[in-house]
Every structure is written in structure tokens, then in C-alpha cells.
């Protein structure tokens, strides 16, 4: 019983990350709406951000800004920096994906994947 509790409570951040990650991946793959796919993709990426940030926490550590006191324990700032970069990549991906969706909507008149597939099958290259 204790072992099971430790497995859940001791790894709470991993459980959260894994659950969020799977929801995101599922939405990105299973949803037919192109915008919802992007939402899923964002969730998926965000879960990875959380994985990194929870990894950088040092027990009892403060924000990694120099305090001048020699005994201060700092959290690891490197994962934060990495994730700042990854967030920028995520934003660019989202902006580009949404731009593509806008163009798809203008070209096909719909953003539902199955309807687009149907149009592509019917019309072929005549567009």
C-alpha cells in the first residue's frame, strides 16, 4: 500500500505530465478539426515544458536570482532557459499552423479533415 502511494505521490509531477501528454497526443491524432488538432499539439508541447520545469526544481531552492547570501540554494535555471526557447518554437509552430488553417479554409471552405479529404478525392487536381 505504502509502495503504491509512494509510486503515485512521489512522482506526482510525472503522472501529471504523462496524463497531459497523452491527452494532447490523442487530440492531435484523433480529432478531425484542424484547429482542435493544433490545440492538442499545444497541450502535448506544454506537457513537455512541465516535465523540464519540474525537473529543474531543487528542494528548498529559491528562484535563480543572485541574493548575495552564500548559503542560498538555487533552483536549476537551465531547464527554464531551454523551455523559454521551446516556448518560442511552440508559438512559431502554432502561428504557422493557424496560418495554414486559414489558407486551407479559404481554399476548401472547411476545416474538417474528412470533408477536405472528400473534396480532394472528388476534385482531384482540378482546382
Amino acid at each position: 500500500m505504502d509502495a503504491a502511494f509512494a509510486l503515485i505521490a512521489g512522482h506526482a509531477n510525472y503522472w501529471l505530465v504523462v496524463i497531459l501528454m497523452m491527452i494532447g497526443l490523442y487530440v492531435a491524432i484523433a480529432r478531425g478539426n484542424l484547429v482542435k488538432k493544433i490545440v492538442g499539439l499545444n497541450l502535448f508541447q506544454t506537457s513537455v515544458f512541465m516535465l523540464y520545469i519540474s525537473m529543474g526544481k531543487v528542494e528548498g531552492g529559491t528562484a535563480p536570482i543572485l541574493t548575495g547570501l552564500p548559503a542560498t540554494v538555487y533552483s536549476n535555471p537551465l531547464p527554464h532557459v531551454l523551455i523559454l526557447t521551446a516556448i518560442v518554437v511552440g508559438i512559431s509552430t502554432t502561428a504557422l499552423a493557424l496560418a495554414l488553417v486559414v489558407r486551407i479554409r479559404e481554399a476548401y471552405g472547411t476545416i474538417e479533415e474528412d470533408e477536405i479529404l472528400e473534396i480532394e478525392r472528388d476534385v482531384g487536381s482540378k482546382s
Binding site: A63, I65, L84, V88, A95, L98, A99, V102, E106
Partner: protein, 145 residues
Amino acid sequence: MQHHLILRVVARLLLPPIFLYALYVQWHGDYGPGGGFQAGVIFAVGFILYALINGVDALTRVVPPRALILLLAAGLLLYAGTGIATLLLGQDFLDYSALSHDAVHGQEWGILIVELGVGITVAAAMTAIFLAFAGRSASVEDKDW
């Protein structure tokens, strides 16, 4: 939009603090949380709020799309230019120590300039992305509210 008095007044009140706060985040990055990316986003939020209240056309009168592209390029060139300046001063790329008479001041100057470049590019990029989306669809009419 002319008769949405509360929205217009509140937005007008909010705009100066938003820009001021963006500048604070930009220049205070040395001493606390902040820096070019966050500042750029906040700065762009000011423009986006302006466009939401006064319409996209009003925003393009304030910052023409052509100016946005130039700013986008300028920010990136400021960043890369700093790196090239350090190269010309005989150090490695982005080794800010070369920028001043001693290494500590050089590092401080370097990060300030680079963050300014990041801020300009991010602000211009965010506004450009907003314009790219908002400029494509029909503008929101009063009856849609």
C-alpha cells in the same frame, strides 16, 4: 465602435501603462525577471489592444505593414550585428567581453543590445502575426456585438 464609450476610455487609459510596463520589463532584465522576449510580447499587446478597439485600419495607420517587416529585420540584424561586431573586435561570435574596456561592462552592454534586438523583433512579429490573421477576415461590425 464610436459609442462603446467604456471600452474606448478604458483602453485609452490602459495603453500608456502597458507600453511603460513593456519598457520596464525590457530594461530591468538585468536585475530581475524580464528581458526582450517578454517585453516584446507585452509591447505587442498594446498594439493589439489598440487594433481591437479602433479597428485594424487604425493600427495599420500607426504601424504600416511595411514598417513592421523592416522592424522585424532590424531586430534580428541588431542581434546578429552585435555578434559580428564582436567578431570584428577579434573575439568569438557574441563574446560580449570585447564590447567595452573591461569584460564586465562588455557583457552588460552586449546583453542589453541583444535583448533590445530580441524585443524589437518579437514585438514586430507578434503584431505582424495579429495583422496577418485579423486583416484577412471581414472586420467585426457593431451589430455582431
